[in-house]
């Protein structure tokens, strides 16, 4: 009986992932090549052949084998953002006072210090482990379970380390660029990292708080809203028809620097 339940649970958790893989295969099969009306493309006024010397460096270039999937996900995320997440954020700002939102934000920032602590340990960084453990200890106690943030006025720096960075520190390359559903720009390595961090932090949360189903839903909802509210980015908000590759470059370069840091 319990085996059946857990199997159903496993199924419920893996089905969405399976769906995404299928979607990925489907869209991956969808061509990125443009449609030519007629036999061959007309020569434009300015073609690459005419304008670009093949021997000089270009910009925003990288291997992107999953481009069709990525662009599909980018559009999917835009829609989820526009029709679900942003309305939730706006509603959240309407119905909650600012001290409540600050408390929620502090709480999650503090809780996810756990992620930074084990990743700093795995990266062998004593400095970051010490700082973050200090923050966590101060904010969890004096800061009343993380609702307040006395560690910042005390001058303890805030680091952010995740398992993608840890893998990077260990020498694992980023792999191809990957736009994750809901979460946005990532890479194969960072996507795996996100999965690992999600699993570990969820286990830790459940062990400490032992939340029931309702609590879990409230937690997830608040976490999603709070996270979105603090990301200053709008899909298709750059005014550039080339936004996809600009964001790809910025993400990739930022992650490289994050790992170097």
């Amino acid at each position: 009986m319990s085996a059946a339940v857990s199997r159903r649970q496993v199924l419920r958790r893996t089905l969405p992932a399976l769906g995404l893989i299928i979607l990925g295969v489907l869209t991956g099969g969808c061509s990125t090549a443009p449609v030519v009306v007629g036999d061959e493309p007309e020569e434009p006024v300015f073609s690459a052949d005419r304008l670009i010397r093949p021997d000089v460096q270009q910009f925003d270039e990288m291997d992107d084998p999953f481009m069709a999937f990525n662009k599909t996900m980018y559009r999917f995320n835009y829609r989820v953002d526009k029709y679900v997440l942003l309305p939730l954020v706006i509603g959240y700002y309407k119905v909650t006072p600012s001290f409540f939102r600050a408390g929620v934000h502090n709480f999650f920032t503090n809780f996810f210090n756990i992620r930074t602590i084990y990743n700093s340990l795995l990266q062998g960084s004593g400095r970051k482990t010490l700082h973050t453990t200090g923050r966590f200890a101060v904010n969890t106690t004096i800061g009343l379970l993380g609702l307040f943030d006395p560690a910042t006025p005390m001058g303890i720096p805030q680091h952010r380390e995740d398992f993608g960075q840890t893998l990077g520190k260990w020498g694992v390359g980023a792999g191809p660029y990957l736009v994750l559903p809901l979460l946005g720009p990532s890479s194969v390595r960072d996507g795996i990292g996100t999965g690992v961090d999600w699993y570990v932090t969820t286990q830790i949360r459940d062990a400490i708080l032992d939340p029931d189903r309702t609590m879990q839903i409230i937690w997830s909802l608040l976490y999603a809203i709070d996270t979105r509210a603090h990301v200053k980015f709008l899909y298709y908000g750059t005014g550039s028809p080339f936004e996809y590759s600009l964001v790809r470059t910025l993400y990739t370069e930022k992650r490289r620097l994050d790992i170097e840091k």
């Binding site: 007309e42 690459a48 270009q58 270039e61 908000g237």
Partner: protein, 410 residues
Amino acid sequence: MALLLGTPASAYDYPFDDPFVATVVGTPADYQADLDVRVPLKRRSIEIFPDREVPDVFFYDKKLRYSYALQKGPAPLVFLIAGTGGSHDGTSNRNIGKALYKAGFHFVALSSPTHSNFIVSASSSHVPGHAFDDAADLYRVMETIWRKLEHKAEVTEFFLTGYSLGAFNTAFVMNIDQERQAFRFKRALMINSPMRLYSSISLLDRMLENIPGGEDNFGAFYQQLIDRFAEVYTRSDELNLSEDFLYKVYEIYQPPNERLAALIGTAFRLAAANMAFTSDVMTDFGYIKPSNVRLRKNTDLATYNHVAMRLGFTDFFHAYFYPYYKARNPALTRTSLIEEMSLATIEDFLRNADNIYVTHNADDLILEPGQIDFFRQVFGERATIYPNGGHLGNMTQRDYVAHMIEIFRP
């Protein structure tokens, strides 16, 4: 009133005498107006041409995006037009919006007709840069938005302003309003306007000659800027990709002054590339994209991006804009089109319109030597010319903002 405005703010204090530094750095905190105000900004989108089909690749641009903020009670409303490639909620529009809201105005902020979203959703021709056509498009947009807002806002009077190309647009919109009278703008303010578009775009294109190693090195130079921006972004954890994002690079990587021109040129080049490619896709002219190629949602645009970034505003003018209008009016000549896209075309109107004001800087980079005198002569006491500030560098300077608000005081 004239007395009050005519005095070119004796208190004006702006630290940079190099117009390139001013343009990139803007106004340091110590010199800034207090723009600390919570603006209840609403972001909306609106259909301008309900029957318009939009290509798959621009599916997200079917509606025109704009923003507005309303005071609680009755107040005057200011329409605000962004500059070249500028978005309705870009940095400059937001700063002007803050100043206006703080002073008790409603405002509606619009993207530039050269912004991709505007080209796709709100331009009647999809070919931006035409003084009269852009103004007609803007006027239609304002009327459409106002039909939606008039039930929500208590408006006492209308005002109009814009910066850079948006200031140029402002002049031509005022010209239309004189005839159409839909808004009867009480006053308008043109902030750092070009005088003749072709002069300004030539100056901006030429700035890229300052790229180390020449224009063939553009790819490497631009990549370096993006990487540096990623560094800024890594430090601040804030990805605010507004149209002037390249200037943020300056904050941590202070380039030698001779690179500043290249930096400014690149920021404008970005606007030129976005504009030209978007327009080309909409008209199938065959400027960058082959005319018989249809882009799909997932099509890789990298090569078009590389080509577009190598083409300036003047290329756009000669190989696209002029041929496009020539095909519609065979009598048109290159020279006449260049001369027509100028404030001089409506000089008499501007000279007699005693409700149109100008703020400008004597060292503005988008003006050819002597062009500042056009503003002095045509607008007389209605023009306030500051000695320094480059292109929009002093726009948040204390006295500058105070002066701007003073012009709109009912």
